[in-house]
Every structure is written in C-alpha cells, then in structure tokens.
Amino acid sequence: MLGHPASPEEVASWDSSVFPDGEGLPEGQGSVAEGEKIYQQQCQVCHGDNGLGQSADQLAGAQMALTSEYPEQTIGSYWPYATTVFDMVRRSMPMTAPGSLTDNEVYAVTAYLLYLNKLIDKDDVMNASSLPKVKMPNEAGFINIYEAERKTN
C-alpha cells in the first residue's frame, strides 16, 4: 500500500476529462465571433480556411457523404459528440502551444467549429449548459464492437 491520498482539490486540478453529457465541462463561455478570431490566429495555418483542411484534418464543410467513394469525416459529418471538440482543443491544441488557450477561448473555438458545420447559429454561445445539448448528426453512426462481442461470447 504505497499510494498517497489525493485531495479533492488536487483531483479537480488534474481531471480534465469531459464527457458527452457535459460532466467535466468548466465554467466560462465563448461566442462564434470570438472563436473565429482565435481560429484565424491559432488554427487556420494547419486546418485551413473555414476548417476545410490543410496539413491537418478537415474539420468542416463536408460535401461527400460517408457512404461515398471519398467520404469526408468532419466534426459535422462524423464526430458523434460536440463535447469531444472542447475536450480535444483544450488538452491538445494548438499543436505549437498546447494548453495555452483559456477555457473561454476553448468554448469560443468550439462554438466557431460547430457554427462552420452548421450545427449552431451565429449568435449562439457555448458553455457548460449549451454545448452538451448540440445535436450531432452522426451520433448514431457508430457500432460498439466491444459490446457486440461481449454479448456473443
């Protein structure tokens, strides 16, 4: 028994995981307009104009369906949960300075990316309450192979 107790404050400062139902989302908020500015400064060089992709993934503007010969797997066409965008941007982005965005800035970039994907309106604000409510078109698009195998075995 060599572990050392972690205080609730320590756990809170370490725990950055955000679940689809919004558990783990911090205080704060961000708008589409704020997010657009941050995107242009921090994200566009890799992800391209309007999230259309460059050296890094296309994030928006999917024209080709997932069933087509050249499927475009963007946030709007493929990602099942909007909270994943917040979680990913906060923990990993931008690649040259991860962890440098404030929670408000992460909410704003998330809002802009959801707006680019026509999932929210231009005036919508993303926060811990609104973000988990964003309906993602491909939420039902996944087959849980692990669960399926457990049932058959």
């Binding site: 995981s17 890094a56 099942p80 990913m88 669960e147």
Partner: protein
C-alpha cells in the same frame, strides 16, 4: 552428388506444396545438405558491394588492439541501414510515425531503439522525479503514485507485441505499396515489458461497483486519453516500467506505460499520468473521430480493441533480390491479439496450394511468432503468401475478403495476407491478387493520414 541431382531428389522427397515449397522439417533432417542456402540480398545493398581483395589469413583488426569498453553498446557501424523509417507531418514534426524495419531483422524481439513510434505531438522529456500517476473517479480512495512508489511493487513480465491500429493501412489503397516490408507493416514491435499489474493498484484504490471503464491519460503535449474496459484492466493490463530489461525509452512511454496485451497500440497509453474510473467511456477524439473504422454503409466500427491474427513474410520480401535459383528460407512473423498463433501456412503459387511452416518456439500468447519454411525457387515467377491462424480458430483473410467485409475507407485494422512476387530476375515486389488490381489509380493515398 552434384547440386542438380541433389535438388531433384530433395524436391521429389520433400516438396509438400506447389512451386517448390518443402517440408518444414527439412532443415532438421537434412540441414547439412542445405548449408548452401542461396544468397538473398537487398537490391540496393548488392549494388554497393565491392569485390574484396584476396583475404589474408589475418584481417587488419586482428593485428591491433580493439576498442575499449563502452558504457552503452551500439550496433556495428556496418549495420547503419537497420533503422526506423519516420514519416511525419511537415509542420508538426512530432506528429507522425516511425516504422520498425522488420525486413532487416530476425528472431522475435524488437531492440528498444527499433521499436515503432507513433506520437501525436512529440516525445516528452519527462523527469521521473516530477512524474506522478493519479488514480481517481469511481474508486474508494483517490491515490497518487510516484515512480519510486511503483518501482517498489512486485513486478511481472510479459513478452507481447504492440501494433498500431493503423499498421499496414497502405493495403486499403488501390495500388500496392512500393515500400520495404517493414516500412508499411512495421508499426508492430515485440518486447518484454515489465511492471506492476493494474489489478494490484486497483485493489489498493478500491473500485466502486458502477465502474465499467478506465480512462487513461498520457503526459505528452497531446495529453491523449483513451477509454479501456475495466475487465481488461483487471484481467491482464499492467503498468510497465521496463522494456527488454531496461527502463522504457522516452519514445515508448518513459517512465510509465500502460500495457493492454493484444489491444491496438493507441490503448497502450504512453507517459501514463492518470487513470480515471468511470461508468462510461469518455468518447475522446481518438476513440470517435480517429481509430474508428468507416464501413461502406456509412456506419463506423468503434472500440475495435483487439488486433486480429496477421502474418507477414519478412524474407524474401519487397526490394530483395534472389541471386539465383536454388534453396531459400522463407521466414516471417505472425501475431494475434486474441492469443497464441497455432498455424502459419505459406504459399508459393499465389494461394493455389499451401504448406505449413515451422513455428519457432516458444510460441507465446499475444507475441510475435517466427515462422520458417524451406523453399526451392526454380527461377520462374512465384507469388509468396503467408496465412496465420490463432487459437480462436480465426484465419487471416485475403485482401479481397477483408475489403468485402469492410470496404476500403476504414483506415485501421488492416490484417490481410500480403503477397510478394518474385520475378524471373529474382527481384521481389509487393503485388495484389490479380482480381484486386485496379487501374488507373485515381485514388488518394491514405499513407499521409496521421493527424
């Protein structure tokens, strides 16, 4: 007996499948007669060969003292082409992969400096004194463990492979990859990992009844997190501190790596800093947007943890040259995330007939298994294949079968049979089955999709 007669009698006695495949026991029974296995060379290396002068009875290095001792041994300077092959994002050089040169290696253990790499944003240079593991969530006690703490627990070792879910994904492309075998199949490596069973630490934290998943997070710049079923965690997952007897290399997770034997590489979280017990998966980017496999229906397979059985002939393989007709050893690796390899079959006639290869013991659970088979190449075109079966009875599929099941847009979990064609000049190249050939190539290569 001259060579020709010898060849003829051996072929008559030992051929067990088409186009010169011989009984796997031949090396044991008639080893001496096969002592002259023909030369197999890399086509590039052969071009660089210089004819050496008459060899004197004492080479120069016998006439002077050798070099002194070294603190950490390095490969011979003459082996400098046995290296990993990195392919990375131009703007973010820490985002990409490096491939293990499986085609230049023998045996089953991957030396630490050649273990494949997949980083999302570079290799963190972690001071182990500053590194801690937090276990929290649906546990009875939230606990930190320092590396010094973890080094004090009783340890276990397991020899197992780790394979990236995206390994061999060039196989989904319409045209066969032109790379050497390891440089499009070498995101798979095999090490002895040593560390603390996760179940021991979970006993210490206690587990609340609702806990079903463990979310593991790394301490790199990407802070990657992945969800792992708690039953896997309790079954055979462990926290590795050592790799092949030494502390894990930074690029493989120093100072602490989660090992989930048989699960795809991304779940073997490197630089492990946090384990959160939860009643549901986190739905991280790398278990939704990536590491899921889009099917022709538009639905995607998710939580496809296990690596299915796979094999690869490493020699002869692409870019090698058979110097002349005669005897060769066909050898390669087989592995399965579901357990032990039970059989590897080899074909030299594009799958028309198959011969069972010798498996080098010990055959271990979820580990690289080396196979070998003697072969007489008659100088004509030959297409070599290998096909693995694991202890669940699963048989490695042909490429056409896999594509029939999954389409070509899944990116991950490509485990189909690989073909090597030996042409009349002895040059070896990668080919698809004839019915799989599609021209012209209007496809976008997916080799570059590592974000």
């Amino acid at each position: 007996m001259n060579d020709k007669n010898n060849d003829k009698s051996l072929l008559e006695e030992f051929q067990i499948a088409g186009n010169g495949l011989l009984d796997r026991r031949l090396f044991l029974k008639r080893g001496l007669q096969l002592s002259a296995i023909s030369t197999l060379a890399s086509s590039t290396a052969l071009a660089n060969d210089e004819t050496s002068d008459a060899i004197s009875s004492r080479q120069p290095w016998m006439n002077q003292p050798g070099k002194p001792f070294s603190l950490y041994g390095q490969p011979s300077a003459y082996e400098d082409r046995v290296v990993r092959f990195p392919t990375q994002n131009e703007l973010v050089p820490g985002n990409g992969v490096s491939w293990t040169p499986l085609h230049l290696m023998e045996g089953t253990i991957t030396p630490n400096g050649l273990h494949y790499e997949r980083h999302h944003n570079g290799v963190p240079q972690i001071d182990p004194k500053q590194h801690k593991l937090l276990m929290h969530g649906l546990v009875k006690r939230d606990l930190f463990f320092s590396i010094d703490d973890l080094l004090r627990y009783p340890m276990q070792s397991k020899i197992c492979f780790i394979e990236c879910g995206g390994n061999s994904n060039a196989g989904w492309n319409k045209q066969p990859s032109r790379s050497e075998a390891g440089y499009f199949n070498g995101m798979a490596s095999n090490s002895e990992w040593t560390g603390v069973p996760l179940s021991v630490l979970l006993d210490e934290t206690g587990i609340k009844k609702q806990a079903k998943w463990i979310i593991a997070e790394g301490a790199d710049a990407f802070a990657m997190q992945m969800s792992i079923p708690i039953e896997k965690a309790m079954d055979d997952a462990f926290l590795a501190l050592y790799q092949n007897g030494e502390r894990i290399r930074p690029e493989n997770g120093y100072p602490l790596r989660l090992i989930v034997p048989g699960y795809e590489g991304v779940l073997n979280v490197k630089w492990l800093r946090r384990l959160k017990l939860s009643n549901r998966p986190i739905m991280a980017r790398n278990e939704t947007s990536k590491y899921t496999e889009l099917l022709p229906s538009g639905k995607a397979r998710q939580f496809t943890f296990f690596i299915e059985a796979k094999s690869l002939i490493t020699s002869p393989s692409a870019h090698m040259l058979l110097s002349k007709p005669g005897y060769y050893q066909i050898t390669g690796l087989a592995w399965s995330g579901r357990g032990k390899i039970t059989k590897v079959e080899v074909s030299a006639d594009a799958g028309a007939s198959w011969a069972e290869a010798e498996l080098q013991g010990p055959v271990l659970d979820r580990a690289f298994t080396r196979f070998r088979l003697p072969w007489h190449w008659n100088g004509n075109v030959a297409v070599l294949k290998s096909r693995a079966t694991d202890e669940t009875g699963y048989v490695q599929p042909e490429r056409s079968e896999l594509i029939k099941q999954r389409g070509r847009k899944g990116f991950f979990h490509y485990n189909a049979i690989t073909n090597w064609q030996v042409d009349k000049d002895g040059f070896v190249s990668h080919v698809y089955d004839k019915q799989d050939n599609e021209t012209p190539n209007t496809d976008i290569s997916i080799d570059s999709g590592w974000d």
